[in-house]
């Protein structure tokens, strides 16, 4: 059984984004799974409340690492156009997305801006509890240094792999018809 998580926090995305994601997952992910929405306002039977209310926005994604098992996470603003069973081909090392294709032109600013070449719109993990525990120990420092978890993971030398193949793209590349299209920062 695969746990499929999303996070709905605040008002940036309304409930329709969660419902659309759930419907897409049911259609394109045929491996046995349980859909879970981690949220500050639980309403549906698939909702569970956030566990660290002091955190904001994307940082709740990091708090999902307290959960072990075969886990997948999806941002609410992704579009799924085809079979995504490949995301569950192996659950071992923490896996996220290589964002180099749409970020390569920003490389000169990478270091002093604490920028990142990974993207966590989709994540896969089994046991990443240490990452979250370490974050909590110096939460204030990391929240000060990093705008989001992509930057935190990339700059704090956390071990990760990236999904292989060409099935994931970003709308920032001008691609809209791939198997998975991230709409990262489109609704910012």
């Amino acid at each position: 059984m695969v746990n499929v998580y999303c996070v709905k926090w605040g008002t940036k995305y309304d409930r329709s984004f969660v419902e659309n994601l759930k419907t897409s997952i049911e259609k394109h992910f045929t491996i046995e799974h349980k859909f879970i929405c981690f949220t500050d306002k639980p309403e549906k039977d698939y909702d569970i409340p956030v566990t660290h209310p002091e955190l904001r926005g994307v940082w709740h994604k990091l708090s999902l690492f307290q959960f072990t098992g075969d886990n997948l996470f999806f941002d609410l603003d992704i579009k799924i156009n085809g079979d995504i069973n490949f995301l569950a081909d192996r659950f071992d090392t923490f896996t996220c997305i290589d964002s180099t294709p749409w970020k390569i032109h920003k490389l000169d600013r990478l270091e002093f801006r604490n920028d990142t070449l990974i993207n966590t719109s989709i994540m896969r993990w089994t046991d990443n509890r240490k990452v979250f525990d370490d974050f909590l120990k110096k939460r204030d420092l990391y929240l000060r240094l990093y705008k989001g978890i992509d930057r935190y993971i990339y700059n704090e030398d956390i071990k990760y792999k990236t999904f292989q193949g060409n099935a994931i793209s970003s709308w920032q590349e001008g691609i809209e018809d791939n198997t998975i299209v991230l709409h990262n920062q489109k609704y910012a």
Binding site: E54, F112, R113, K137, D140, L141, L143
Partner: protein, 221 residues
């Protein structure tokens, strides 16, 4: 114009700590400077006696969550109630000491030449791990980061301070910042959090247009 030494310090920070460059600049920005100068000004005006005020020639001051330690140098410059023996800067950031040394090395040398003997000691430590012994080594304890800390952490730390310790606390109502997990809505709320811990409380408010900063100075019961 910026003087050549300042430019050189900025260059060194950029070269050695590029990932911290923006953070270092933030720690020295105008609002940080104004907040710290305001603190020293009001501390100088505080009239109530605190522990060892009359007994010791020189006192020690502890700065909790001290970031890169700019307040230590404001105190060395402007604090006029007592001579300062040591300022302890406590922060759990493993790079704070190295960066502070680069930032303030020249000022340390200048102070030494002027005969100012105050030592600034950086300690990499979570304030949760400070002991009663640690807290009793200082006559004044300053925490300008209450909005960054769980309330219980602040209380636990206060409980470890000896009676008579002069306490300075700052917080704000700037809840748009992701690391501000414990803001207060106004000065009254801030004061009410510490009335059972402190006596002779003096309270202050400063308007920074997009938010307000609050400060209380009092004596540990």
């Amino acid at each position: 114009m910026l003087d050549i030494n300042t430019i050189e310090t900025i260059r060194k920070i950029f070269n050695h700590y590029p990932k911290r460059f923006v953070d270092v600049l933030n720690s020295l920005n105008e609002k940080q400077q104004v907040s710290k100068e305001w603190l020293v000004e009001k501390l100088n005006e505080y009239k109530y006696p605190f522990r060892h005020k009359l007994k010791k020639d020189r006192i020690s001051i502890m700065l909790l969550c001290s970031w890169y330690g700019m307040l230590a140098y404001k105190l060395i410059d402007k604090f006029n109630v007592k001579k300062i023996d040591r300022v302890y800067c406590i922060d759990f950031d493993p790079k704070a000491k190295q960066i502070a040394n680069r930032l303030f090395r020249r000022i340390d040398n200048e102070n030494l030449h002027k005969g100012i003997l105050t030592q600034v000691n950086y300690r990499e430590k979570d304030i949760k791990d400070l002991s009663e012994n640690d807290m009793s080594s200082c006559e004044i304890v300053i925490n300008t980061s209450c909005e960054h800390l769980e309330q219980q952490t602040i209380y636990d730390n206060l409980d470890k301070c000896p009676s008579g310790t002069l306490i300075v606390l700052q917080s704000n109502n700037y809840d748009q910042i992701q690391e501000h997990i414990n803001t207060v809505k106004d000065l009254q709320e801030f004061v009410s959090q510490y009335q059972s811990h402190l006596i002779n409380i003096q309270m202050y408010e400063k308007d920074f247009l997009d938010y307000k900063r609050f400060m209380i100075i009092g004596i540990k019961r």
